[in-house]
Symmetry: D2
Subunit: 347 residues, 4 copies
């Protein structure tokens, strides 16, 4: 392979996340050649493509998949199209990077994963936080045995503000839209399967979220196969910024990742010692992780290695999320096996 | 009242906690006049009394209560004697400071509280952490509304090492021996009643603890009447020291208390930046709080004001602990009302 | 002006700093169109240009300046060519961004600044740390009066390792090569002129540095016109990373900027609490600042506004550095006026 | 020796520092038996003695020294009486703890030290900061070689507010009253002799301090015999509390001690992340150190070991302070040998 060979990629979906990926692909990822962007809203796609010098814009993703030069797709469209487009892309022989979640429905996920496996293309799900340097470091510490056997996991994950109510209504609910990242992080850090979930929650930030059938605050307990126990807390509104912390406590010590700050300044005055806010939201906070996850996806393609985040890694947090939802609704712990069996039975 | 009037007090029980209170009363609390120490093991009592110049030592607490000059007792004897001695002391007209817990049995607690109320003496339970400057500050911030409505509470409470197995067997179990402090701290910080508990846990530190019928690791979810949700995690063994942290997250911000360190040094070298361990265990960590709680108890006596930690404050964490135990055993959430009703029915 | 108009720029000098600017211009600065790179070592230039897709490579900077399309040059060549090339570029009508220092000789600097002023082009010196978000924030705090009148300034600036001895010999010495950044930062933060300098130093890291006629460790005291006093400490070798800290103490408080870390992890174990190293060296540490300084330079060109770092800002730190050198050699405080007068007299 | 043998001590001088030592001796130091307090203002002495149950109060220290039972004296009287009383106490066979400084005049210090040496009693000077756990830890790190050879020392020492002008006038000036602690800390941490001093300073906090012939802000550079260089900065007014930090940078790393905080709370809100103030002033900040220095003094008496802070340790910071004063007045570096020679010549 000659140096500077770029992988020809497309971005399907030019909304907030898609636009971010487009910027990263064109400005920060020299091994990518972004040749086309598509969005049902073709004007939105055109605007972004012009800003970042992407040569081609189409409205229909099928045109994208029909391009013989294209090697991989980055799927950032509406969640309910993820499974469909992933499957078609795989059949078309394109490697697939799919934003989370693959789908809310286990059957659809499993069908899609079977199609992808049969097609033999690379498939990576967008659980970007695994690629954050601090969380990665915590995982390395745990995996190396430096803290012994993991006993207790704590994750805090709070957004600075809730999404629009229109989004909430189609988001799948907090567990499948927001906590799903933390379910993946929990599996990633502990390195053992989640067996059971207990979810408590409420509507404390905005009553409209409750009226839309969702909650905005949650505390979830996880049990792992290796005996470890985890607790995740979520809120849709933290006034001080995007709060993302993890902690793994074990027999030989504890590893944590704290929040970065906008800058490192401190102001000391008669009221106390004051430091900077946290980065505002996910694009700012996880910029490096978003870039790294795409770079590693492209490296998997170029080197023919398996992605760090596999299809099954994309599936499991949905199972956990469905268990959390049931647990919340019925106020009891729910085993993942119960969700799997319901799925088999077709319920 | 003339200046330098001291309150005449006695310490009943000269074990680890009792010895600590004796040292504090004689060396750091000038408003106390410690006139007698008692312990069934009179040699132990004598050794401590000599070290700290306490004039009188007896084996039988009834002799202590019979002293007409005595104004108050500090009860640090075995837990199964707390209720009995508290009641007798109240009847004898002595003000009572009683180490936690009052008892493991709600009936005995309620009987004792009725006796004390009838006697009209001051009664304070030894939930010392309320008197820690950092936790007190967090409570002030919450109570002042600076973080708005409290939504999420997080408490981490990990000991550096488990107690002897002989103690574990009579401790009442982790929820009534260890988490009981955290249950009180949760009520203190949130300022609302706990309504329901879900407890997950396991034996991860020492199998002998399991053989003794207890667990050493726990994650407890609490629901509060005001809608807030809390999570407590406990371990009997943290190799880096006594880990005691609280966090209250609300609609307008977040208040936390971090661990102090043995000292403020930092060593930067080729491996990274290294700081000090945490204080080793509770006597070191809460020294100021242990002194303050006794000083405020004595101030309540001198000024005829109500104690910060009342009898009911001493009762509620036991109810929560019993709910937690049931929840752990049956792996389901348990409402405090269920425990109260069982108690009424005599079960 | 139509959107997406890029400023056509060239980079002169493809060594370590030049290569960094080339990467930033091509990957992170969409408003730049890097059309040519030059270096006397044309093979080095070619390698970098290929890596970053720069269309043209030449050996002789005069060819660069002769290009009528070119609008601005980024000068990263050897220090002893800065003044010459800056002057010629200005005469050729090109805006100039010049890496520090402009020169070691005040006469040459002043001649160059006169040429540039007459030519009327934009001129910005590469004191990138002014563009670091944390240092910028400290300056804003000081300028806004939040800490009152500045009284004391402290700057720590330590490299992870010394430069090669071959570089040391032509570097101009520590004060003009390394401390020069801190002299500029001192003026930037305090907002008042330096009037006097006292420099103490020694050879503690590597005797070869002493043999090359330089020192590797220094502590410099600065007096400002407004009465403030500053202290700078430098070392050529900090094993824990690139240590860059500032602190301004005033009548109403103190503003500081601390070191960032490679990541936010913490490992707690039986030895203590361990955190991450500092970023290794300047490209990693100041990446954002290096990008911002070029972007703001280009914005000055596009908007016809004055650069944040002017020619005089580029000159003053050299005067301070010459005063520091004299002070070190003669072990006495040296006023800047003494250096200015020597320069006038031609000594 | 039987257990619980207490050393019979007296406190001479019941002002602010004396009162603090009296409280510590009576409440926190069981191995001391404080039998008498003296002060020329006998009412002040009586008030303190009553508060802390000291049996005897006199106006004249000679009565104290005449008591055959007395074993040691703690001298906290006005500075200009320290040398006199120390000498007389030694001649009377009493061990001497003397608050800093012994005197402002080198001759008087040397005469007193000769008397004390001849008398063969223990003599310790009140440089309490050596006994602070964090500074002690930094010294241990340096002494153990963990940071290699020390190269650079930084000390920041800022008071929350200046002393009364009446005190300033008799204090000996900032270098002998305030920086003297930092001079001792510098020698303690580096473990090498100071050879030369350069002091810059000014009046920035309160013009009345200037009118009283003193300054309130200073930056002092120290050179050590081992080649290390230090910088100390002082201010008489830091609005955020008593700022006391040290840092030793060496060939293999860096050891620092940061400020403790009043408590460990953090408040995060829309403005940022806010933490606690520093302890207000020296009694609060160095409480443990003040107690430890007296306990170790008494241990030296009981065990017949040499004090950690010797007479020479008490002398050297005065020499450095005199050099600093001369340096400030003449704006030039001053070698300690110059001060020593002036003293020998009688100037």
């Amino acid at each position: 392979m000659t140096p500077n060979v770029k992988t020809k990629v497309a971005v399907i979906g030019a909304g907030r996340i898609g636009k971010m990926h487009i910027e990263h692909l064109t400005l920060h990822i020299p091994e990518a050649d972004l040749i086309v962007v598509s969005d049902v809203n073709v004007e939105a796609a055109r605007s972004v493509a012009t800003q970042f010098n992407v040569p081609t814009v189409v409205a229909d993703y099928k045109e994208v998949l029909a391009n013989p030069e294209l090697e991989a797709v980055i799927i950032c469209s509406a969640t309910d199209t993820h499974a469909q487009i992933s499957g078609e892309a795989a059949i078309a022989g394109k490697h697939v990077f799919c934003e989370k979640p693959i789908d809310f429905d286990l059957h659809r996920i499993d069908r899609t994963l079977r199609v992808i496996e049969k097609a033999g293309v690379k498939f990576q799900v967008g659980f970007n936080r695994r690629f954050d340097p601090s969380f990665r470091r915590v995982r390395e510490i745990v995996a190396s045995g430096k803290i012994g056997e993991p006993h207790i996991l704590r994750i805090t994950s709070r957004d600075p503000e809730p999404p629009p109510i229109s989004y909430v209504k189609v988001s799948g609910g907090i567990f499948l839209d927001m906590t799903i990242h933390d379910f993946d992080m929990a599996c990633y850090l502990i390195g053992s399967e989640v067996t059971e979930v207990y979810a408590a929650g409420g509507v404390m930030v905005d009553p409209q979220i409750g009226e839309a059938g969702d909650i905005d605050t949650a505390v979830i307990t996880l049990r792992f196969a290796n005996g470890a126990i985890g607790t995740i807390d979520n809120s849709r509104k933290a006034v001080y910024g995007y709060d993302q912390r993890v902690e793994v406590f074990g027999s030989e010590g504890m590893a944590t990742a704290a929040n970065p700050r906008v800058d490192t300044h401190t102001l000391s005055n008669g009221d106390g010692v004051h430091t900077s806010l946290l980065p505002f939201f996910f694009i700012e906070r996880y910029r490096e992780a978003y870039i790294t996850e795409l770079r590693e996806f492209l490296a998997c393609i170029q080197n023919d290695t398996p992605p760090l985040v596999t299809g099954n890694d994309g599936r499991i947090p949905v199972v956990i999320g469905l268990a959390a939802l049931k647990s919340y609704q019925e106020n009891r712990p729910v085993r993942l096996s119960e969700i799997e069996e319901s799925a088999k039975r077709g319920t």
